[in-house]
């Protein structure tokens, strides 16, 4: 079950929604499309589903060119951000609907619906109407409808975005289990980097109609190919600042300097960009090599178990993220510590400068 896009372009009117995109998706685990609201995730999914036709390029599925084959004739399931169910049908009938359309036998339908409902913990609700369910249960019903038939391709378009925080956590935890022993390509769109990391699998980072990078999720996170990908794959936002290399030192500002990192060792002096993920900037030194960075606190966001501190150093806004609750006074001057071992360096063209050392190989994500 493999899905491949070959030079797919989508233009609507004069606007290009998807620029020349070629990608071959994996048929095991999740393929996460990660990007902000207008990155083109939904358009790309519609192209994959056959709901939209590419302006040019081809879509291949299992070695067949399916470009222009309508969605009805492909074996595709889609789950949307809004909980879409048939309001007048019971949960049972909702789940059974794709099977009824396919003309399956009654006994078989019964069997399958019950099996899927069990998997999604919907068995007690089978007789109810969608309106009587909570948001989480409604979305589970929509998921069940997508799972009940053996689709070759399952597209999940931000399915958890409209749920309460805790419910989101719960369903996100269940999702990989649901798809574990299925043989199909699963594509999952999200705007949250953390969701991509928790789902694992492969991630395609998207920005303004382009896939900037596609690869194993942890590898994309640790080795973003360029600045854009690093920005897409960081929440809170990654700190990216200009850095001047001169001689044996790199200089961030008059007061913040450190030794030239291995990545820049063989490169000429000049202007580079450094990317520092917020968790590498902490209020207490963390890691072997740190440099202090003083700044004025603008606000502390608390997530319950983590603190995200926005502060200003020189003219730039910085974000630090640390475990535990540290509510710093707004306007106070604080010293933060940057763990320089984890920094990413980018050239003038915005592309990542890889550290030549062998230990840079990403740790494989265990799943």
């Amino acid at each position: 079950m493999s899905l491949e896009l070959r030079n797919v372009v989508k233009r609507v009117g004069g606007e290009t929604h998807i620029y020349d995109t070629s990608v071959s998706l994996h048929d095991q685990g999740f393929n996460v499309l990660l990007g902000t609201t207008l990155a083109g995730k939904t358009t790309l999914m519609q192209l994959m589903a056959g709901l939209e036709k590419p302006t040019s390029g081809e879509i291949w599925f299992n070695g067949q060119n399916v470009t222009g084959v309508s969605v009805q004739r492909r074996n595709v399931s889609v789950v949307h951000q809004q909980f879409i169910n048939y309001p007048s049908l019971s949960v049972f009938e909702n789940i059974a609907s794709p099977l009824r359309v396919a003309g399956m036998k009654r006994v078989e339908i019964d069997n399958r619906v019950h099996r899927t409902a069990e998997l999604l913990r919907l068995t007690p609700m089978l007789k109810r109407n969608p309106a009587e369910l909570s948001g989480g249960q409604q979305q589970r019903t929509a998921l069940a409808r997508a799972l009940v038939k053996d689709s070759d391709l399952i597209l999940l378009d931000e399915p958890l975005a409209n749920l309460d925080f805790k419910l989101r956590e719960e369903l996100r935890d269940e999702l990989p289990r649901l798809f574990a022993d299925r043989h199909c390509t699963v594509v999952y769109a999200t705007s949250e980097p953390l969701e991509a990391l928790l789902l694992g699998g492969h991630t395609a980072a998207m920005h303004e109609g382009r896939i900037t990078q596609y690869g194993p999720t942890a590898a994309v996170y640790r080795h973003p190919i360029d600045e854009t990908t690093a920005r897409v794959f960081s929440d809170p936002p990654i700190n990216i600042a200009s850095l001047i290399k001169s001689g044996r030192q790199v200089k961030l500002s008059e007061s913040v300097k450190w030794d030239v990192p291995a990545a820049l060792n063989d490169l000429p002096d000049g202007l580079y960009q450094v990317g520092v993920r917020p968790h590498l900037i902490t209020t207490k030194p963390n890691g072997r090599n740190t440099v202090p960075l003083t700044g004025t606190v603008q606000i502390t966001e608390l997530s319950g178990s983590e603190s995200v501190i926005h502060f200003a150093h020189t003219d730039m806004k910085w974000v630090s993220q640390s475990q535990g609750i540290h509510a710093l006074q707004v306007g106070a001057t604080e010293t933060f510590y940057v763990n320089i071992d984890g920094c990413l360096y980018f050239g003038a063209d915005g592309r990542l400068i890889e550290t030549p050392a062998a230990d840079a190989v990403p740790q494989a994500a265990t799943a």
Binding site: G50, K53, S56, T67, G68, V69, S70
Partner: protein, 288 residues
């Protein structure tokens, strides 16, 4: 790639609509256009006459009088039905069992056919036996719609208001019920007076549906035929001879097909023009 377009047979589905529109709009309209530029003396012999009929109609006193009556009628019923409809909608309960009762009561007049409405009021208002007519005369108000033009007018307007205010009510009510509770709560907290709530929340939120209400009522009232016809047949004299009554008199009474066709086209263009102007003004204001 394009020869594989998935929906290339889509146009097939449009055929029924095209056929339907052709039969009920385009073909009759073309027939009328055809008549409007020709003269006939019967036997299906036609002569091309150009714009003669249009000139004749536009300069005829008779047409001017009918158009004047029509405009007066439309303006009057709009001026009554809109404020009255909005007021009733505002007074209606927002929820609960009384709401259903009100909605059903409001919907009743809309379910009655035009000619029945005409016949009902015809009898209702008869000065000698009708409930309304008799009561008025017993109160020593001299009222006889078959003889007094003013009485005929009042009856006609009352009939239209009775028949169609409900439509405005239902539309206005739909507009009102789409206003989220938060607006009313915010207004309470802002210390707004009931008038301010109406002026700054309810009226702006009802504007779209009221636009539709005005358009519908305008077009419908321009087309009014059955009621005056059943009531007095356009009389007394020509007092209630509105445009469509005049048109039918010309077309079927005198069999002047050419002038009648020209009249219909002028009549059609007036409705189109006024509706378009009104709609553009209302929506342009919204975007500003």
């Amino acid at each position: 790639m394009n020869e594989k377009a998935p929906y290339q047979k889509g146009w097939i589905f449009v055929i029924p609509v095209v056929a339907l529109v052709a039969f009920n709009a385009v073909i009759p309209l073309m027939t009328v256009v055809n008549y409007s530029v020709q003269e006939t003396f019967g036997n299906n012999i036609f002569f091309f006459e150009g714009i003669k009929w249009f000139q004749a109609v536009l300069t005829s006193d008779r047409f001017h009088a009918a158009l004047g009556r029509q405009l007066a009628f439309t303006a009057t019923i709009l001026a009554i039905e809109l404020p009255l409809g909005v007021a009733i909608a505002l007074a209606m309960p927002r929820k609960g069992p009384w709401l259903s009762v009100c909605l059903v009561l409001m919907a009743l007049p809309l379910l009655i056919p035009w000619n029945v409405v005409g016949a009902m009021w015809n009898i209702f208002a008869l000065p000698d036996i009708g409930l309304l007519g008799k009561t008025l005369n017993n109160l020593s108000i001299n009222y006889n719609y078959t003889q007094q033009p003013a009485a005929a007018w009042v009856t006609l307007i009352a009939m239209d208001v009775w028949h169609w205010t409900s439509l405005v009510v239902l539309l206005a009510f739909a507009g009102l019920s789409s206003i989220p509770d938060a607006y009313y709560q915010a207004a309470k907290i802002d210390g707004a007076s009931p008038y301010a709530v109406f002026r700054y929340i309810q009226l702006p939120k009802m504007r779209r549906v009221l636009t539709i209400a005005v358009l519908l009522r305008f077009m419908d009232s321009f087309m009014i035929y059955t009621e005056p016809f059943v009531l007095t047949g356009g009389g007394p004299g020509n007092a209630t001879t509105l445009l469509s009554i005049d048109l039918v008199k010309v077309a079927l009474g005198q069999f002047d097909l050419g002038p009648a066709a020209a009249m219909s086209i002028i009549y059609f263009l007036i409705v189109l023009l006024v509706s378009w102007v009104f709609y553009t003004v209302m929506t342009r204001k919204e975007e500003a």
